[in-house]
């Protein structure tokens, strides 16, 4: 719907970049079990840690943003994997018991 306030992370990414912000894009590339957001969901992040969109409905966004800021600095993409909190090396996890893989890449100008 035209009036729908639905967030479009890719449009936001383009706007942010036009504004001169360094950005990264995070994308859910694989899910197992009950994952909160489907494959293909995006999060756009800038170098200061501002973000729009979602890859998990809030469970792991903090960690993704942290890694994305690092990817912006290094200029290199990386793959993140999240499961339930105590099964992975990450300090955050998905309370729903699912697992997701998130691909984080800097958007170069």
């Amino acid at each position: 719907m035209a009036e729908s306030p639905e967030i479009d992370p890719l449009a936001i990414a383009q706007t942010w970049q036009k504004d001169g912000r360094a950005i990264a894009l995070a994308t859910v590339v694989e899910t197992w079990g009950s994952a909160p957001r489907p494959v293909g969901s995006h999060l756009v992040i800038d170098q200061e840690g501002n973000f729009e969109g979602s890859v998990s409905g809030g469970c792991v966004e903090g960690a993704v943003v942290f890694e994305a800021v690092d990817a912006i600095e290094s200029g290199k993409p990386k793959m993140l994997e999240f499961g339930v909190a105590d099964e992975t090396a990450w300090e955050v996890g998905l309370s729903c018991g699912g697992r997701i893989r998130v691909y984080v890449e800097p958007v170069t100008s």
């Binding site: 719907m1 293909g40 958007v107």
Partner: protein, 235 residues
């Protein structure tokens, strides 16, 4: 990803083109495949399979993992006829996430008072569809009962491969319609794809209930395309 690819991706999405972004996860290499160029892509088969469902996912190849992300346009519903059924149908369809357009050349029907918060053209379908062509991610429902208005968009929808094509009218009306359309001698168009009488058979008894039946049939065609096709063929 580079900004040039991001821009091309956004332009394609805005123009309602289906697009795949193919990423080699090992080295981050990416390419954009717009719907018209799928046939020439090394992953043409996998991309084509994903086109209808719009589902993204990883494929294993000799070169390692490749992520295919599909961007398909949001489903659209074009209703021909600004009638009572349409008044009930458009808000329900909008609630289900469809972009709705209503077209009816009869200016007494297609008024802003009767159709608020929806795109409504008081013009002939020929005119509107020239500017905004139908596509595979569009459903068409014709409900005017008037061949002068209904026939052109029906043929256009079959030609464009709309995922749903429905027409109001009983079996006799539809038999006459099929005869008329066959007589136009257009090849390669499958008239059996027209859902008529329109809507799932739930005994709908008034405009709002007919709208429910029509919308349910459209959602089925979108979400369970093979089932919808099989029941059409069985009918």
């Amino acid at each position: 990803m580079d900004s040039e690819l991001l821009q091309r991706l956004n332009i394609a999405r805005q123009s309602r083109k289906a697009v795949a972004v193919v990423t080699h996860l090992a080295d981050g290499q990416k390419r954009l495949v717009v719907e018209d160029d799928i046939a020439g892509d090394p992953l043409a088969e996998q991309i084509t399979q994903r086109l209808r469902s719009g589902k993204s996912g990883i494929v294993e190849t000799a070169a390692g993992e490749i992520f295919i992300q599909m961007y398909v346009p949001p489903p659209r519903l074009v209703i021909i006829g600004a009638v009572h059924i349409s008044q009930a149908l458009y808000p329900m369809a909008q609630a289900c996430g469809f972009d709705v357009t209503i077209i009816d050349p009869r200016t007494a029907f297609a008024t802003p008072e009767r159709f608020q918060n929806v795109v409504c053209h008081a013009e002939w379908p020929e005119e509107v569809l020239k500017r905004q062509p139908l596509d595979a991610f569009t459903a068409l429902a014709v409900v005017t009962h008037d061949p002068k208005i209904d026939d052109f968009p029906l043929m256009a929808a079959l030609d464009a491969g709309c995922f749903y094509v429905g027409a109001l009218g009983g079996r006799k009306t539809n038999a006459k319609r099929v005869d008329r359309l066959s007589a136009t001698g257009v090849d390669g168009v499958d008239l059996d794809r027209i859902c008529a009488p329109i809507g799932l058979d739930i005994g709908a008894a008034n405009p709002a209930e007919i709208a429910v039946a029509v919308l349910a049939q459209i959602v089925e065609a979108l979400r369970k395309p093979n089932v919808a096709l099989a029941s059409e063929q069985a009918a």
